[in-house]
Subunit: 463 residues, 2 copies
């Protein structure tokens, strides 16, 4: 391993420069106005793969943004690892809350990142994290034969629900054949508490529209006599949780996995300081489902959050309008064994049921994903464990994550392959938020750790 | 009266052209970007007053947008009428719902307006209506001595709460001395059901902010553990009405006038067709406070409407954000004898009380106004009654309006003068909405009616 680590050490500056270049491309997959930029990011990734030593590099079209593929097949009898990541990013708004431009990466020191962190949209989610794999691969390629065959599949639609990926996996199942999928798109507990994600929540994301009158009305002339769609929407949203913050959609919890008391106990032994958590978010109280701790609420319990709401006059000053329509984007995080399609249907049916006859309601389906739990007794999990232990000097602990990577369930269902979630971010990286950042310590530590994974994985598979 | 009416008849085309010119000026008082346009409208009004025969025309500065003043004093022993109106308009958004540009007036026929209606922001509220007074004044000035002294006070901040008008009235009380104030900024029941507004609701308008965490969060990592300010705001808004649609703010109804059964009975005898009302708005059901009819709900009962709401991601596609903040603009229409300041305080105190400890709440005060009821036995009411009866061929009926013209209470409190509300709009004119319009029939009928008012008023004051 010595030459590989030496190579990494000597090329740190260039690795960082190359990442910054990628971060300057505003590859916002949700906004059609950025279609060209998304493609430009794909081209940059393809070129990086080529330069790093990958063969058969190709930008493969889908119905939406393309997938970048590349591979290095060393020997047919070696195990094959496929690295998955995504080069698209979340929209950066609200823009005015960014200290520096979301696509003008800047390195600043923070209390958690004394070596500096890269502030830019996508720095942690997921450009910074998948780029570690490209650079680890480059370091290995430059220093002798690889211990595994490696494939790369870097997509451009993760932040909009990976709608075209199912078709892509089916169409290219042969080329994507592998023994395991390796993903760095999650976080660890802390710099001195390495962890590996062993569960992810699923997702159901909908947009609702409540229509009252056929046009905006003067609230003086009609107020009190005509249903106000904002008031009605507020009432409908409010009714979606009961007084214990349980979700009040009939059937919603039917398939929820009941986690064994022993596992809940183990989960609650993970390092967690509620006072520090509250202080970091500047909140007086945490807020969630009765009967569960914060660690449980974000890992093993489903949620329902309004991600956006709008209606009526939202400009400066006052306008006495009784609007025709009000809208909300609502997402539900799901846990094993909830089915996102079933949940979306339950939501839509319930939402229509609770609408009073004075309004009309529409529910539009955005995207969803299945929850996953990954095993901890597989060669890939053990390889990740040993790799992190080697570089962090401490055994990582298994952790269930609250986020969703719908693709993980797809990999299992379509390719029949398990995924290992070896992420190097922190939950404080502000992903999806203004001032997203990624610590340099984690970026370089990731690059150093990844070659060990391949080494251990090859050894464990041989046994 | 013959020469005056003849003059009006002969100048109709020009009167209309002059109004269209005024409607082309986007005098949106709420938006600082339109400050120059608001001033341009003031200048246009001043110039129109001068051309119509007014003396001492002046654009008088205030802390905000200016007031246009002009007068014609014929003889000291004649009664003095002051015309009040406003040259500012509501913001036109949502722009995409306008058939033609809000500031590109177009005349189109509609079922209710077979002669055509002028489609433009401000056409009915209030440019079209106050401009009738200028043109009636011109017709009278051009045809012999006026039966009354006439003053004009046309302001530019009505749509943002007339914040500077109290000071203005106090500062210019001498110049504004008059016997009655005449306002056309309300509507009548129908073309064949003339009516005069004898009551107006008051207003309390606030903006609320609910803050959860100190930054936008990823809803997967934090969802379920941290209070989502949109969900909380929805719950708080929902709780402001009980199951009977009574407003659930303690003390809110304490000062509400109990209208006598006889007056309620008379009110419900006004022409009103609920099926037509629902059809025109395309709603399946009206929606309001239990125990009151639609006519009562919009006239003698207070309301609470959310006029705007926003928070989180509202762009295209999906973003799984747990936002830091959510906002709403909320207005309450008030009835005699509710005090807008007291109501605003009750609201703010209650809103803070119902906020859970997991969020922080702010309430900002936009503007308010007192409710008014005007007597029906005064010379000015009788003069308006006779004037409308003369031109419409039918006695107008008294009607309480649901809207608010806060200035009416100010006139009474500061100048000690009553107001007569002789409006010529229809409630279907879409004021404050896209496609606001004003029927040509009503514009010209108003110009014809106004000279009769002065004639009758002078006669009745002499008696």
């Amino acid at each position: 391993m010595q030459p590989v680590q030496q190579y990494i050490h000597e090329n740190k500056g260039r690795f960082l420069e190359e990442l910054l270049e990628l971060l300057r491309i505003p590859s916002i997959s949700a906004d059609p106005a950025y279609k060209g930029e998304v493609r430009r990011a794909a081209e940059y990734v393809a070129e990086s793969l080529r330069k790093s030593g990958a063969d058969r590099v190709e930008i493969i079209e889908t119905g939406g943004h393309p997938v970048v593929y590349g591979e290095k097949i060393t020997a047919p009898d070696l195990p094959t690892v496929m690295v998955y990541g995504h080069y698209d990013v979340q929209p950066p708004d609200p823009l005015d809350l960014w200290t520096t431009g979301p696509f003008e990466p800047e390195i600043r020191k923070t209390p958690l990142h004394p070596e500096g962190a890269i502030f830019a949209r996508g720095s942690a989610d997921d450009k910074g994290q998948f780029f570690m794999h490209l650079k680890a691969f480059e370091a290995m390629s430059a220093n002798g034969p690889l211990p595994c065959n490696i494939k790369f599949m870097i997509e451009g639609e993760e932040e909009v629900g990976s709608a075209n990926l199912e078709g892509f996996l089916k169409a290219h199942a042969g080329r994507l054949k592998c023994d395991v999928i390796l993903v760095s798109d999650t976080h660890m507990i802390a710099r001195d508490v390495p962890s590996i994600t062993v569960g992810l929540r699923g997702l159901s994301y909908v947009e609702v529209e409540v229509q009252g009158p056929n046009r905006d009305l003067h609230s003086g002339l009609y107020g009190g006599a005509v249903a106000n769609p904002i008031n009605i929407l507020a009432k409908m949203i409010a009714s979606l949780h009961d007084e214990n913050n349980h979700i009040a959609i009939p059937g919603f919890y039917d398939d929820v996995e009941v986690v064994a008391p022993a596992e809940r106990k183990a989960m609650n032994e993970a390092p967690y300081d509620e006072e520090a958590y509250k202080k970091e978010l500047d909140i007086r109280m945490v807020h969630g489902e009765a009967g569960f701790t914060t660690l449980e609420r974000t890992a093993i319990r489903p949620t329902l959050d309004v991600n956006g709401i709008w209606g009526g006059y939202t400009g400066e000053g006052a306008k006495t309008v009784l609007p025709a329509k009000a809208f909300a984007k609502i997402s539900m995080r799901l846990v094993p064994h909830q089915d996102p399609e079933k949940i979306t249907e339950l939501f839509a049916a319930h939402f229509k049921t609770i609408a009073p006859p004075s309004v009309k309601v529409q529910v539009r389906y955005h995207h969803g994903g299945y929850p996953v739990v990954t095993p901890t007794d597989t060669p890939e999990y053990l390889a990740a464990h040993k790799a992190m232990e080697t570089t962090f000097g401490k055994a990582p602990i298994p952790q269930r994550g609250g986020g969703s990577i719908p693709i993980v369930a797809l990999f299992e269902n379509i390719l029949g392959v398990k995924t290992v979630l070896m992420g190097f971010g922190l939950d404080t990286d502000s992903i999806h938020s203004p001032n997203e950042h990624y610590g340099l310590f984690f970026f370089f530590k990731g690059i150093e750790t990844i070659p060990h994974f391949y080494q251990y994985y090859a050894e464990l598979k041989k046994d």
